[in-house]
Symmetry: C2
Subunit: 501 residues, 2 copies
């Protein structure tokens, strides 16, 4: 027992408790908090964030990390102890660059911006958020500038969410992805439009809620260690590995919104619930990157949840739940409806094929804003123009335009979106590896069983938490670096059959 290591862990646990409390304050703000609580809540979040930051950047932690270097070097790279020290050192070196006052200002500002946004979006009022967004951009640039020596101003921000990636590397991957997707989208657009009217009937909220929960319990989401609540903009959060929660928005006139939203957040939650319990309270007890996290939400939402085998088992149950709405709708009609490709306005409602185009343009906007090539006041117009050129549609209002995503109103500009497209790519890469190792997964899905798939993911991805970086984890799990091939093959196979390409 190394006493310095134990002291480090004790300090990290206290910081983790503060961060978990802040996560609960945020969850409450997004689910149940009355409007009158907003002002104090912003301040409380700032206080907890600042305290956690101050405690983490305490020079005592730096001294412990220095003192632990010889101990770490004796240990295997893969050992829990070496991994904890390594990951803590990486976080520490990042954190000490950010002054506590800046962190407090950032927490306080984003909490306020979020509150303004929740009102501005339904009112279609970009003017209300514009000054907040300008401040956010300024804070984002300041944040990056605390890390001098970057190649691109977005690099430090990308690095926070997808460690190891840079603006250049993401741009290269996205250029490749885009080059292959655009012809696929065009080929599909040349085919007759799929009919998804069966999803647009009236589906009572309580029954949608019950169905979604039933499915994610089958996936393996453990309600003894989690729960689901309503919110405006769904997210997953955790307060410990024993309390991993999802949130959902229900639309009574669109069955897909809550259903696939629930699968998506449950995918995130399965990742967190799958982390080794003995990591709880340490910096290892989280997903390793935004891209890998998103790979799990997208795997369960799309590869499983919009797949034919899954619905072979579940569709009769869904029909039984909604006999009036779906009793006379054939499985094939339903399957085509939930996989309808449509050039549309809302990222979170987008189909698998066009989704990445939504993400890539947001990533480009982030770079443009940070580089100063685009002003915040011009963003709504630039947004419309890019939707028109990339997807052939443009929102008449900002509500379904630049106001649709919470990210820039609850965090920084830069690094907020690339993880979604990286996650799509990785979802297929992981699934492909799982099925190659365990071909029975497909038949099990068709029988409503997910144990073999979940076990493979737990063994190769979930359990490790942050022990391995995303590039290390991807290499270990799939035997190769991030690679768009399985994803493009998955899309081409699935949509060639759906659209007779």
């Amino acid at each position: 027992m190394n006493t310095q290591y134990e002291e480090l862990k004790a300090r990290l646990l206290e910081i983790n408790d503060l961060e978990s409390a802040a996560a609960l304050l945020y969850w409450d703000q997004s689910t149940y908090m009355p409007p009158g609580g907003a002002a104090a809540r912003g301040r409380q979040l700032a206080t907890l964030g600042q305290l956690a930051h101050t405690k983490f950047t305490d020079s005592a932690i730096g001294r412990l990390l220095d003192a632990l270097r010889p101990y770490e070097e004796q240990l295997d790279y893969d050992s829990d102890e070496a991994s904890l020290i390594r990951v803590t050192r990486r976080d520490y070196e990042r954190a000490v660059n950010l002054p506590a006052a800046f962190v407090a200002a950032m927490y306080s500002h984003t909490s306020e911006a979020f509150t303004v946004w929740t009102k501005a979006r339904p009112e279609n009022n970009f003017a209300a958020v514009q000054p907040y967004l300008e401040k956010t951009l300024e804070l984002s640039r300041q944040a990056a500038d605390f890390f001098p020596g970057y190649e691109h101003i977005a690099d430090p921000l990308i690095d926070w969410s997808d460690y190891g990636m840079k603006a250049t590397s993401v741009r290269a991957i996205f250029a490749d992805l885009r080059a292959q997707l655009v012809p696929l989208v065009q080929a599909i657009a040349a085919q007759p439009v799929a009919d998804d009217s069966c999803l647009k009937q009236h589906f009572p909220e309580d029954r949608q809620w019950a169905v979604g929960l039933e499915v994610v319990k089958r996936f393996g989401y453990d309600l003894e260690r989690g729960r689901q609540d309503k919110t405006h903009h769904p997210f997953m959060t955790k307060f410990s590995l024993g309390d991993v929660r999802i949130t959902t928005r229900v639309n009574e006139h669109d069955l897909g919104e809550a259903l696939f939203g629930t699968f998506h957040e449950a995918g995130h939650a399965l990742y967190e619930q799958g982390i080794r319990m003995d990591f709880d309270g340490t910096p290892l007890a989280s997903g390793t990157s935004s891209g890998v996290h998103e790979s799990q939400s997208r795997l369960w939402e799309n590869i499983v949840g919009r797949g034919r085998p899954f619905w072979q088992h579940f569709y009769p149950k869904l029909q039984a739940e909604f006999p009036e709405q779906l009793g006379s709708v054939a499985l094939d009609t339903f399957y085509r409806a939930i996989n309808k490709v449509e050039r549309s306005l809302i990222r979170t409602d987008a189909d698998e094929v066009t989704y990445n185009l939504h993400v890539i343009m947001r990533f480009d906007f982030e770079l443009d804003l940070l580089e100063g090539r685009l002003a915040v006041r011009d963003l709504p117009e630039a947004w419309r123009a890019r939707y028109q050129s990339d997807l052939g549609v443009a929102s008449p209002d900002d509500r379904d335009g630049v106001l649709q995503d919470v990210h820039w109103y609850a965090g920084l500009i830069g690094g907020a979106f690339q993880g979604y497209a990286l996650g799509n790519i990785l979802s297929a890469q992981f699934f492909d590896s799982a099925v190659r190792a365990q071909p029975a997964i497909i038949d099990e899905m068709a029988a409503g069983e997910f144990t073999t798939l979940r076990n493979w993911l737990t063994q190769h991805v979930y359990q490790h938490g942050r022990k391995y970086t995303a590039p290390e984890l991807v290499e270990r799990a799939s035997g190769q670096p991030l690679n768009t091939e399985p994803y493009l093959r998955y899309l081409r196979t699935k949509y060639a059959e759906l659209y007779q390409l």
Copy 2:
């Protein structure tokens, strides 16, 4: 602007943020937290409690308070600044006596004990809580012993919740109260039992919920600055003066439980919502004592909510909400039902007359346990014996006996109960003063209007927060010290008419 005063306020605000976060962790634990979250939650509460305590007992605060003494002496006693310094000094002197490690152990233990209790109560399993309760008793004695020089070991604990009261003074008040109540209870028991079967029908939960909320909104509970959630053991909590929440338990087979429980918690919430908003985040922004707090929950629950004028207005609305259950029940029958006096097992369900006997015996048990005259293992039997002798009833199980109240399982033994009876006494004393000043209050209640009453209470009680001690506030608001006369007169008048005594 005194810079030391400003520095004190800034430090207190940070501590308040930590305490508010801890309050939210507790609220969540009692409303929505899944079972898997319990272990980490206990630790998180301990961390926040310890941090707040460490920060508050920092010698820098002691130095600021010393340095501010000349400033305070120049100011009026009533000024906000002098009051803030005075109340902070009182809290500080109390807090520095409690070691941080003790506070952490106390938080951690009570959180764990609470979790065990929530399971043990439905299972009627006193054995499960007994070791926790023994530890609680030990911690309670230790807590008192950090304040040497007390007259009675319970005095320091009573002082925390009802500043200025001692075991001796409470015993004297309770002896007087008991002497007058026992003959009243006996006189009522000699009369025919009231029929409350109209309340014991099936009342769907969602409609009970809606009715309760409707009424407390009329009382003035502001849902822009509050909300109501379900829990096992109802309580009021606040995270800022803009976010004051109540919790309620609904029994579909007893209309009174949720209804009067909601009025009760809303009474607490009206007090907190009525505090001057510019006190927010300071130690002045709370109710001044347990007794005064309880006077407001009981005033709205009983003097208003079980009064004839109130129901003259609201009963037709209640009948309209529950036409099948109450359509043919006369107002007078309903009024008698909700004021049925019955010697019963459960404190929170007890009528106004017998309620104080429940409280007085718990107060006596606290003294006996602390003095060592009663062992925890003998408590269930002592409980049964005292119920038999005082109320002529005894529970066949512990669920409705010693396990019924959360207090000892979520806090210390000592000072937990006397506030309920002091509150009853004060509720009538305040109401009496309000009606003498504003006789229109009675007619307004009969018209479903509560503005004059609420305004009087806000002006004389609520707005001041902790600026005045309970004895000061009672004297200012009613022109005399705590006095059982208005309360006994209220009970005698009301129940003489109800039971034709």
